[in-house]
Symmetry: D2
């Protein structure tokens, strides 16, 4: 009987609870004993480790966030605290740990892995930013995208009723993925992200012509990475001469009832992770790549820059030089 | 055959489209001819008045915002433009006008009414702020409250996962209605509105004790009227020593698919309004009062201060001196 | 210190959990001790009575159904079992019991009340059917209506895409309230309920003419009370010569995340109930009437027939003799 | 300048409108002229073909179903009508046709392709059943799955409140995909589909033991393919001795606001289809395979049996011999 544990680290995402449920169910199914570490690496240091039962995961699959809580840990950057963390794991006889988090969390995991030989570590990419190299999908992205969609659909009602420009700032840290997909799938008139060059002069010419022809409102999606949302609001006021409003979507993007896709991805990610632990893999990250779930070396994941998929960038070309759409 | 028209003024709300549908259906049913005025009082001045048909309102009942657009009009404050507006109405033989809007819009309507004898004017309270004296309900409030609910439910997932205080700023201009109902029905730990006195020292004592006993997160709902949202974020950081985040819900509160309640209220409001026009009433506002729809003099509506219902304020007492809730 | 208890009886509705939360919070606030009875009158007989704490109601406000479960009880119809139930209440020192349920549950409550002098009983109307005399609102109705709305909005997409008639059967036992409001607020073409006379010949003439003019689909809402849903499907096939489908909405109408309205109504209902218990009322039902919450004698509630509000029936007149709507 | 057309055939799915929008936008972007064929193959025969403009697709991206309507056509099975269809296409100078539909629609397309040399035909798999060989994804599946999820989450509230078994019949024709994914991601206790063998005796033993230990409700998901839903309801009543209810989800599975995933997949599918038309491909179906969009010969698509993905079937193993979950 093998004892294995799971923890959540960094920002929470919807789908983490589905991962916890699958972790408990599949561990038991494989003859292992599942443990929960509460509160991320902080809880690992503070020995908040306990055996998990079926009853702990009953009904949580449809709830956002994570039942075992998450954290960012400063202490974990110090070797002495990591030693304590390892001791705590050993105390519970744990031989494998699954970490749900982003690249920062995986770097911490990697250090832990380098400092011990008796425990395996598997990362599962979990961030709404979808900015982790090596995997085409991170847990939580689909729920975030649909939360953003509902918000934009709603704001469009107001924009079209009032004749305004709405500049909507979307999360994603340095990555424009969320903003780009949101702009495409909501039919936004403008999308500004780091990965696609844009020319405000081209937009201006186009928008003024559309306004002349009767267009009364604009929806602009701007990635937080560009740090120019307020400036774009001003640009609409001054250059396009239309009343403008800014909306920072903020934390409503992060949570919410997990979509089917995030629940199912959580199942696949965790299944692959437990299989890898059973096979004795020492340190790896489960990645989703062209329809498959693969274990990749952490060096190819946390230490590389994420690039948006070519097919998607091709769709985004329309925002590079917006085509004229008579309205 | 009587010609009657409808327009939307001020901020748009969900339910306006249901009102337009009922307006067309019921006008025809009563042997009247319905007209739409596009773009509020601006459109009245610019003569954007046209006959409405069944096909104009097909399928719009489930869409937020307003199909005939709304506006705020500076020109309408000048008598000369109001004269043009009246001429435009007369040109189309219109003898009754329904105005969906807030108290500002009703004041404009009142002026128009004073300047003519041949046209009747009926206001329908429409604002998510629910801040109009004389009526217990304004069109759009229920949809706004449910949009806020979804946002808070979602943010709570994140707050509870991460151990943070979330300070959520809610709309309502000078009125705390939206914030109070949202706080009550989402089980928020704190609610600050102009109508309920509060004492941060009491909150501090309570929150520190709850934190001591294990509470890891707080949800605070703050009315935009108080203009102290950022200060409250800082208060949590400094006085309660918990990481805090601010979320300004912004324009997602305004739109969205109208709820059943707003669709049904739109039907009742418009039916009462058309009945009043048919009976020759000259200037009035349809109010919802203890289950009934009554026509009230505009002086009792637009020129008085709205007071939150006593029963509701009584529920809000828990935020005045928050009771201790061991967690 | 007074001990008071709450139970849920009959069909569950959304908003019951909000009622439980308010029950616990307000009881403590008033210096009373709250108790839960699990599993309705069955649990009362089986002595499933236990003290409730704040932690029992944390986070349940946004969850459908009822945490303390509900039941229908055959045993409770026998006096001997009711004696046991009373003994169980006395054993816990309970002097007041709040019952969430429909008219059947109130009749049971009334019998209990007649058989004892030391305990007060208060009913809170809770049924999605909205068919209880004396109250204009029953807990759960608003959530049910919005669940139906989402279903109809979705089916309309399919109906309009395919050129079909959809006959949608809506709950409500003997009462057409749910069906009528749903038909009005979804813009349905047909609505059949017990309270409004209808003439299929008039519908036929109208629908054939609309079809001639280009209408390609119809949405019909039929109350389950009429027991003729399949017959109406056939009527569309044979008389209107259009492919038709039946959808029985079923149990999706009952549950779901409670709306703001149901949460707030739960708060008001329970507050009034506890106030009445504190004042020593012996047996009553809290009713919502023209904006107020009143305690009514059970004889005026459970033993009378519910009548749909006149204003609403007036709106429903359009289904009595459907006006011609050129499409 | 090349003229290309698009039509929808068979059952409608959410995402078709997003496909129409992308079709118009990308056609213009590529210097082609886009045409709409209304009402599927029926409209092709009846020459309901017209040029499409940007304004035709404004705002439709967030609406379920299809704006250009769909149909099943008996006439199209006859060669003489297909000849008329081809003539109508030629009359508008159309050299490429995109068909959104299922395998039946592709077989019709194939016949058309065999009877002419001057027009290219591209299929896009569109069915909520996800039962088309050669592609891992069909347009509409994600929206359907999320509609089912909302329904099951809601029914679970009622099931857990009342202590009942709910047997929920899910669409999918001969394919258990929808039922399997729904059961997994909703944490259902039972799932019966054609692709996974099951043993009611094993379920019985397990369920009786769980009931003994306190479990009060069960959710069973049954594929419509098995045609035994009512029998399973009876099985719960008789073998497990628990009150049971059947819910046939019906047409609410088909429609609804399209998810982000379906909107984005529509964009990719259509982009690939137009690229293929531009390159002169004569007859093909766009398939989604391991993260890529490929054109496949119709023989490998419409004339083969769809097999559920191995990874997913592996997850479904838990329903083959349900593991014991103490509750």
């Amino acid at each position: 009987m093998k004892n294995i544990a799971i923890l959540c680290s960094g920002g929470d995402v919807s789908g983490m609870n589905a991962a916890l449920k699958r972790f408990v169910d599949y561990a038991f199914d494989q003859g292992m004993r599942p443990f929960f570490v509460e509160n991320g690496y902080e809880g690992l240091i503070d020995n908040k480790i306990s055996a998990a039962a079926y009853s702990d995961v009953a009904g949580i699959i449809s709830i956002g966030g994570t039942k075992i809580r998450t954290s960012r840990s400063e202490r974990f950057k110090e070797s002495s605290y990591r030693q304590i963390a390892l001791e705590n794991l050993r105390e519970h006889g744990i031989t494998g740990l699954v970490v749900l988090g982003g690249d920062g969390s995986f770097k911490g995991m990697q250090k832990l892995s380098e400092e011990c030989n008796d425990i395996g570590f598997i990362g599962i990419p979990s961030t709404i930013d979808n900015d982790i190299a090596g995997t085409q999908y991170c847990l939580g992205v689909d729920t975030a995208l649909n939360a953003i969609r509902v918000a934009i659909d709603s704001i469009r009602d107001t924009a079209s009723s009032f004749g305004r420009a709405f500049v909507i700032e979307v999360m994603g840290r340095e990555c424009g993925y969320l903003a780009l997909v949101s702009a495409l799938t909501s039919g936004a008139e403008m999308c500004l992200i780091p990965e696609v060059p844009y020319n405000l002069e081209v937009y201006k010419e186009e928008f003024l012509e559309e306004k002349e022809q009767g267009r009364s409102y604009f929806i602009a999606i701007v990635s937080e990475a560009l740090k120019n949302t307020e400036q774009i609001v001003q640009w609409f006021e001054e250059e396009i001469a239309i009343e403008s409003r800014m909306t920072v979507l903020g934390h409503i993007q992060r949570g919410g009832i997990p979509t089917v896709h995030d629940r199912l991805m959580a199942f696949h990610f965790v299944t692959t992770a437990i299989d890898a632990l059973r096979e004795g893999i020492k340190s790896t990250v489960v990645c989703y790549d062209d329809g498959m779930f693969l274990c990749k070396d952490i060096k190819d994941v946390a230490f590389k820059k994420y690039m948006i998929d070519e097919d998607l960038l091709a769709l985004g070309k329309e925002f590079e030089s917006p085509q004229h759409k008579q309205v």
